[in-house]
């Protein structure tokens, strides 16, 4: 029996209106940045309907000529390396944590969660002092190590939850066939845990890609990552809004296909991380 009364229709319309309003809240700022990136500096401070024909590609050209593309490359190199390092070291560790019979697992899970939640300002103070002495300020190695303090606890934690969903029988069956534990991990467990692995890799990359704080403190100019390089367009004298808009889009674009493609895996993984 479907309710077709007027009251029900009004309620339904209100529901749709509310959803539309929030859709606007989510989408309009993105549209705004797209418009901003194509507006000439002369028309920035007037409403669009007063100069509806003023469009330019100058902002994109000036970004292409600036240091920003190099900073994007720095972001790719450091976030990518740190994620690879974290996966390489973290996945076998997570497998052992999940399948080994041990009693101190609670401590390990608390520690990993704590490291994931600890304020970065705490990590960065000692790192900065050591880096100044060791000559690691403004180097790829320094930044990759710093990012690994974010990505490694995350990768171990999330792969641990993924491996927990792989039945122990699968491991035992592989061992019965005479395979070594390493082979079982590589040939059986990792393929079975692929959704979790994709999500862990993607989210760990984003964790480093999104970083602003570490890069702000321990890079100077050579290895500055894109999020910090954007701030070059902001100065006390003037703010280059067009360039900022283009840079913000450039910063987001690589993430969008990742989020869209890995959406399903990420939801599973986040759900797992939240529910345990």
């Amino acid at each position: 029996m479907r309710d077709t009364s007027t009251a029900f229709r009004v309620k339904k319309a209100l529901g749709y209106a509310m959803m539309l309003a929030f859709l606007g809240f989510s989408l309009l700022p993105v549209v705004w940045v797209l418009l901003l990136s194509l507006r000439p500096a002369t028309a920035l401070f007037e409403p669009i309907w007063e100069s509806p024909t003023a469009w330019t590609l100058d902002n994109i050209r000036s970004i292409a000529r600036s240091d920003f593309p190099a900073a994007l490359l720095n972001s790719f190199i450091t976030a990518g390396s740190s994620t690879l390092l974290a996966l390489l070291v973290g996945v076998p560790g997570a497998f052992a944590l999940s399948k080994r019979r041990a009693s101190n697992k609670f401590f390990a899970s608390w520690l990993l969660l704590l490291l994931r939640m600890a304020p970065p300002v705490g990590f960065v103070i000692p790192l900065f002092l050591v880096y100044v002495r060791a000559g690691l300020i403004d180097t790829y190695a320094g930044l990759i190590f710093a990012y690994t303090s974010l990505t490694l606890p995350f990768v171990v934690w999330s792969m641990w939850t993924s491996f927990n969903q792989i039945p122990d029988e699968l491991v035992e069956a592989g061992l019965m066939d005479g395979a070594s534990l390493g082979r079982v991990l590589w040939r059986i467990v990792i393929p079975a845990a692929r959704p979790g692995l994709v999500a862990a890799g993607v989210l760990s990359f984003l964790l480093a890609w999104n970083d602003f704080f570490f890069s702000l403190i321990i890079t100077r100019s050579d290895t500055t990552t894109a999020p910090v390089a954007v701030m070059n367009f902001v100065s006390y004298a003037s703010v280059d809004w067009g360039a900022i808009a283009v840079a913000s889009i450039a910063l987001t674009l690589p993430v969008v296909p990742i989020i869209v493609l890995a959406n399903k895996y990420i939801v599973q993984s986040l759900g797992g991380a939240v529910k345990g």
Binding site: M18, F22, L23, F25, S26, L27, W32, V33, L44, P47, V89, G90, P92, G93, A94, L97, S109, W110, L112, L114, R116, A118, P119, P120, V121, G122, F123, V124, P126, L127, L129, V130, F145, A146, T148, L152, P153, L175, L181, G182, N210, F212, F213, L216, I217, P227, V228, V230, M231, V234, S248, L251, T252, V255, I259, Q268, L270, V274, K275, G276
Partner: protein, 294 residues
Amino acid sequence: MTPPRASAAMDRTYRRMLWPASLAVGIFAIAPLLGMLALSFTDFHLVRGWSGKIGIHNFLRLFEDRRFVSSIYIMMALSAFGVLAQVVLGTAIAVGLDKIVGKWRVARGIFVVPFAVPHVAVALIWLSLFTPTLSPINAVFAVFGIEVPALLTTQTGAITAIVIADTWATYPFVMLIVLAALQGISPDLDEAAALDGATRVKAFFRITLPLLYPTLLMVALFRFIETLKHFPLIFVMTSGGPGRATQATNYYAYVQTFQNSNVAYGASIAVFLFLFAAAISFYIAKANARLSDA
């Protein structure tokens, strides 16, 4: 069952798999945190160095420091309003999307877009929207002769602005997780409630919400921790201002360490924040252990 000798060999292999990760976590994560703890008991200054003094003077100073105490209030305001807005909005949208399928499927994808925008870009986008001379919001309202107040010039306004920007970027996270949880709840429950004559709203509050409660609590805790770490939003949108009005504790630790060169004092503020995170992560780990035992 595997024979005991084989299992001893296996245990050795497991330990071999574990040690690179343990070593790396120790070097990259635990060592810096111990360094932070050690520094917090000294009087290390970026320019003056260390006089050799060791003690709890930094921690005693914390609670006499008005700027520190007010930074806690600011942090709490940002976290409380932020988490509340994100959880309520994320849950509302998730409930809306859960019932609606078909062509609205696309809507789910659109709602997720802000989640992909890096924090610095989020901050810059909203800075542009809150800059009265630039903002299309001001332009639209000006057509109707309404002057929109400049949010970033007052404390309440600046905190509101940061909460709005943070909510825009992160409620999709809440939405995705609540949506996944909702899809695990059987629709039979709703139908049963409808047969009993309960209205939809009543059924939601009596049945769905209690079932969602564990998920909502975990999501809220995760978001709470993240909001304690606010940095790019404050740095870009307000620089802690107007005056010191948005210097939340995490930002204040940065100011003391890297602007005032008071490294040791900054470290003691970081230790304070760390204890916060330790308590909450302990609670979450306990809850997880209970879940996996059950």
